[in-house]
């Protein structure tokens, strides 16, 4: 693993997200009400909605365009909808948010 410091936890609003640019496209880094962080693709598989702008509830996010709901843990669409988003390892250490760049690079290579 290649953990990269992308910024302070405080930079992400609680129950919100910020976007990190990668060569493969944007990744949304979410912070939940319980201060857990999750990184997922910022592109809804339905019609490309920016998931980082969705409402965060529990460990899930609702897409702002047509309200599909995704689990941030598994990346799977919830309920009747069918689809998934890629998830990336992310963690918080001493108030800093770390992302696993090797995974992003691997995906970039694939």
């Amino acid at each position: 693993m290649n953990w990269l410091d992308i910024g302070a936890l405080e930079d992400i609003p609680r129950q919100g997200a910020r976007v990190v640019k990668t060569a493969q496209g944007c990744v949304a880094v979410f912070r939940t009400a319980a201060d857990e962080v999750f990184a997922v693709d910022d592109r809804c598989p339905h019609k490309g909605g920016p998931l980082s702008e969705g409402i965060v509830h529990g460990n899930a996010v609702t897409c702002p365009l047509h309200t599909w709901v995704f689990s941030l843990k598994t990346g799977l669409a919830q309920g009747a909808d069918d689809g998934a988003i890629a998830t990336y390892p992310a963690r918080v250490e001493a108030g800093r948010v770390l992302l696993d760049a090797s995974r992003l690079a691997r995906r970039a290579a694939a």
Partner: protein
Amino acid sequence: MTEKLVIIGAGMASGRVIEHLIEADPAAYDITLFNAEARGNYNRIMLSPVLSGEKIYADIVTHDADWYAANGVTTRFGAHVTKIDRGRKVVVSGGVDTPYDRLIIATGSAPFIIPVSGKDLPGVVTYRDLDDTNKMIAAAKPGAKAVVIGGGLLGLEAAAGLQLRGMDVTVIHIMGHLMERQLDPAAGYLLQRTLEARGIRVHCKGATKAILGDGRVEAVALEDGTIYGADLVVMAVGIRPEVRLANDAHLEVGRGITVGDQMQTSDPSIYAVGECIEHNKQLFGLVAPLYDQAKVLAKGLIGEDSAFRPVQTATKLKVTGCDLFSAGDFADAPGREDIVFRDPGRGIYKRLVLEGDKLVGAVMYGDTADGNWFFGLIKDATNVTPMRDTLIFGPAFQGGAQADPMAAVAALPPSAEICGCNGVCKGRIVEAIGGGAVTLDLVKAQTKASGSCGSCTGLVEQVLAVTLGDSFQRATSQPMCKCTDHTHEDVRRFIKAGAMKSIPAVMQELAWKTVGGCASCRPALNYYLLADWPLGYTDDRQSRFVNERNHANIQKDGTYSVVPRMWGGVTTPAELRAIADAADKYAVPMVKVTGGQRIDLLGVRKQDLPAIWADLNAAGMVSGHAYSKGLRTVKTCVGTEFCRFGTQDSTGLGIKLEKLLWGSWAPAKVKLGVSGCPRNCAEATCKDVGIVCVDSGYEISVAGAAGMDVKETELLCKVASEAEVMEVVAAFIQLYRENARYLHRIYKWVAKVGLDWCQEQVADPVVRRALYDRFMVSQSVYQTDPWAEHARPSARASWGVMADLALEAAE
């Protein structure tokens, strides 16, 4: 010729008589209905939830103007009948005679007023009708002091309601324990403890000596020397039958108007029904027997035989959180035995009174689920000896059945009474369900079960569930979302009544089923909280939909549209230049004139939003909230300024209104139009609020629609000056903000609460001013330009990406 039936009093009893009569033979009589109150029939027993704020008047109306019209009932509301002239067979009201062939007196009761000095001071009220209730609501300023004289059913419901509205409440009761007619001392004590725990002071054995005050009530003095300060005194010490008309007409009157088994008085063409009567020396104070009387009387009027036989009644207190039930006779007497169950930890007390092998009385506090079962045993005089050992544990324990929540209902025999008010037994409900009444509403419509005080609603639903099995869904009360079983309306009431001030508090108190809610309930809760507590609640940005969080409208490709305000649709060359410059500078793909008389910049990238806002702000423009559940546009026409037909300055008024209202969040978007004359070039008559100027002033109409539904507005009122327009419109929008459910446009909300109700609210100068003042308090917080706040240089960083790993990831 059809016989003339005149009815004095549109109360709970006469309402039922008319219903039964019309159901049996709509053409039998030509009915005229008088009522001293300026309104028709409503569910009087639900005044307490209105007082506490858990319901509004519109929720408890049982017969509205349309109903009377559709059924050919001539109504004389607000008309006090002052005389019955039996010789000429007429009743007199306002000096006008109305002839009758048959007459029904249904005047109910009058509250008893203790004859102490100060009883007539302003601020002393009784508790009988909507006017009393409104007086109390108006007096209920948080922190103000209320003294309720009387610790019976009415007094305690008043006390609880006033306390929920934030008053400091003291109950003075003359007896040793509360509700002594329905409760034994132990249950009375538990009730007192519950009330005290919520902050209501209870003074038992207190005799009122005088009400003190100079020009207005200030305090209540008791015989024992105690003095309680009071801004409001509610006298709820009992009622006496309203018999004055009958006395004057020399009908036979005891304590009430004397009637026989067919409800006839001593004059064969005059009947009496309801609380004003006396039957076999007995008076009545609960609705169940009145409904039986109404049935008997209606049958008699169409020539069918039947006789009134009073049945036992049971009592419940409609105070949320105080669960008590009492039925039958529980006085100590020789030959009687008690079975008592106490669980002090859970505050549960149950007492059954047995005489021989029969149950004669039951009192319960804390857990009343089995009340109706015990009540059934009392009424049927069932021999309870075989189940005496387990009797107190209720029906679920009879015959070794499991204690599952439905078992109690499943175990009830068909004859068990479910709805006490309307005397509806389980068998009748099951029969109705069998006939297709598969929802609560249908059961209510066909059997009247749960139609009055509503305390049996849960039981009726359980009967539905037991009878229909899995196919029953509690469809009538559509919950807000899957996170809760409560409806939007209930949640709004709970937030107000329980003074809940944060989303986590609401979710905790109302037992939300999910962690953190969902994208549907969170924006609604955030709105309800900020609308109800503009000063105490902080807007939760993360609970807002993307457009309201980013103050621009998201497009299908993730870019945004930006619409600055253009007050009343009027712009200047300087503003147009600034818009053109911004469009150039940020390479805006499309500039479009909107349907709302302003200009839309479409396709702006998120990271450019703060900068484009800053540029527009610099030219004097603020957010047009084209994305918000709040005030959008005020469309105007040119009016007297330029148009040869204009009657008033519609452009100027539109701008003033937009400047008054902008920034206020609402349940859904709000659009206004102001036209200078009835040619209506601003299309005001299809807006949420539309103003049409005329020579004599301004016609304010509301509840129009021109989106998915198209509907013309309806007249709210007509006023003479611009200042009045501003006050009425702000008050009306505040009424909407405080009462509607989230996402309901004004026309949907008005259809629910009724235009009449809205008119009443804004017509009353005190209510209107209070609404206006509350609107302005909210504006003191929310009328700020969100663009300016987010365009601050310090806030800008958060609009861009958090990190750029594009290079690293590619390496």
